[in-house]
């Protein structure tokens, strides 16, 4: 951890690490509930953070994102999405290389070149039309690829669902984003806000759906997030543990679960 700090220089990274250290200290003080999910030992803390994020979202982020969506025509918003996705392809190139995925790394690099040169700096996604596949990879996925487990589920302030591993990878992911290389502070901040706002706007329909489909939106989000991260680490082919529980008429015996005394 120490050497990571020194390698990834920059004030921002160091500040993020300091914040994280404080954060982990706070966490260790958290109690664990009696019905804790093994993948979510920090549930009481996480639920609190989830509620906090949700309140901020309802009060500020969602209304602003809705205005953003209603004001800007769809092609403009697609352009914004493409622009930031194009920058992300560079970081995907690095992480695909770190995972020794030659073809995916090559595709990421070619995508960035094609879209930057022929796609007006990434606003148009020419590479996708040329059928050059996108392979999004971040540093959390690289750690996962090399065998680092996800660790407990963690809800970050404002940033939302994560895991301990992905949180540890976050400072590097921030550093790897080309936006953080912009020296002009107001420009960099504006770009970051635009990126986050655009991402939230794209999720407006999904979050409306979540309200309808989930019995408990915290649990739904957690279980969906952890699965999708595992899926991302294994590029769509996570280890198949089969169906753990199959209580059917024909197969009423279920040895792995204890009766919970209902």
């Amino acid at each position: 951890m120490e050497s990571f700090c020194n390698q990834a220089s920059g004030k921002m990274t160091r500040r993020l690490w300091a914040g994280l250290a404080l954060f982990v200290l706070m966490l260790s003080g958290c109690a664990t509930g009696p019905n804790a999910n093994p993948r979510d030992p920090l549930e009481p803390f996480n639920r609190g953070m989830y509620q906090f994020n949700d309140a901020v979202d309802r009060a500020v982020v969602k209304p602003v994102a809705t205005v953003y969506r209603d004001v800007l025509p769809s092609p403009v918003r697609t352009g914004v999405t493409n622009f930031f996705a194009n920058l992300q392809d560079v970081w995907s190139f690095v992480n695909n290389s770190l995972q020794l995925k030659g073809e995916a790394a090559g595709n990421s690099l070619v995508r960035f070149g094609v879209n930057t040169v022929f796609g007006l700096g990434g606003v148009l996604d020419i590479a996708s039309e040329m059928q050059i596949e996108r392979h999004t990879e971040d540093f959390g996925q690289t750690l996962g690829y090399w065998g680092v487990g996800a660790g407990p589920y963690l809800v970050l302030p404002l940033l939302g669902p994560s895991t301990v591993r992905d949180t540890a990878a976050l400072p590097l992911d921030v550093q790897g984003n080309l936006v953080s290389g912009v020296n002009d502070v107001p420009a960099r901040n504006s770009l970051t806000v635009l990126n986050l706002l655009n991402q939230r706007a794209r999720l407006l329909d999904a979050s409306k759906m979540l309200e309808q489909v989930a019995l408990d939106s915290y649990t739904f989000t957690r279980d969906a997030f952890l699965q999708s991260r595992l899926n991302a680490v294994y590029d769509g082919y996570p280890p198949d543990d089969g169906e753990p529980f199959e209580p059917t008429e024909e197969n009423p015996v279920e040895p792995t679960f204890e009766s919970n005394g209902l």
């Binding site: 989930a214 649990t219 699965q227 899926n231 059917t248 209902l262």
Partner: protein, 216 residues
Amino acid sequence: MNRRFLNQWLWAVTASLFMSVSGHAADEAPDALIGRLTRESLDIIQADKALQAGDVSRIIEVVDEKIMPHLNFQRMTASAVGPGWRQATPEQRKRLEAEFKTLLVRTYAGAMSQAKNLSFSVKPLRAAPDDKEVIVRTLIIGRGDPVQLDYRLEKTPGVGAGWKVYNLNVLGVWLVETYRSQFAQEINAKGIDGLIATLTERNKANATANAKSAKG
């Protein structure tokens, strides 16, 4: 030139007729079945304005006619309910299945309007010929990045098309697994009847919310 086209066309029509007949007579391969169902579903949505508008009664009609025969929905529900399923009476099980189905159908009704002009591909099947359960993987291609859509199927020799879907995966997230903890939470707190009540309430609330947004 014309004649060749006519010949090709006739061949295609004959082949498709033959396939639709044989499809019902013999068991299909699981990936062929998923490919056929996906194509049929996309065609139906493409042609049906009511479906695109998210008309729930029409969607339920199509789901019952086209989709349900190929699902083992009881297994899906049982698996999502988990250990509690064994304690449930037949009546409770029926209610759970019905309410769970309504919840899912209503939810996906909202996504129908975005299901226009889509294409898809079925990935090569990784399975042994004698496998009783397989995963069929597909990609739905529209605007933006392709969407991963996978299915778990069980062999049902002689029943339906020979395979039934008992779980599906959207973007790496299995449907049944995503409900298992939520259902367990409800059952632990309020029992099976509590879960049924919660599902029923949620479906009623969704119905009114959708009716309101349709009017507005």
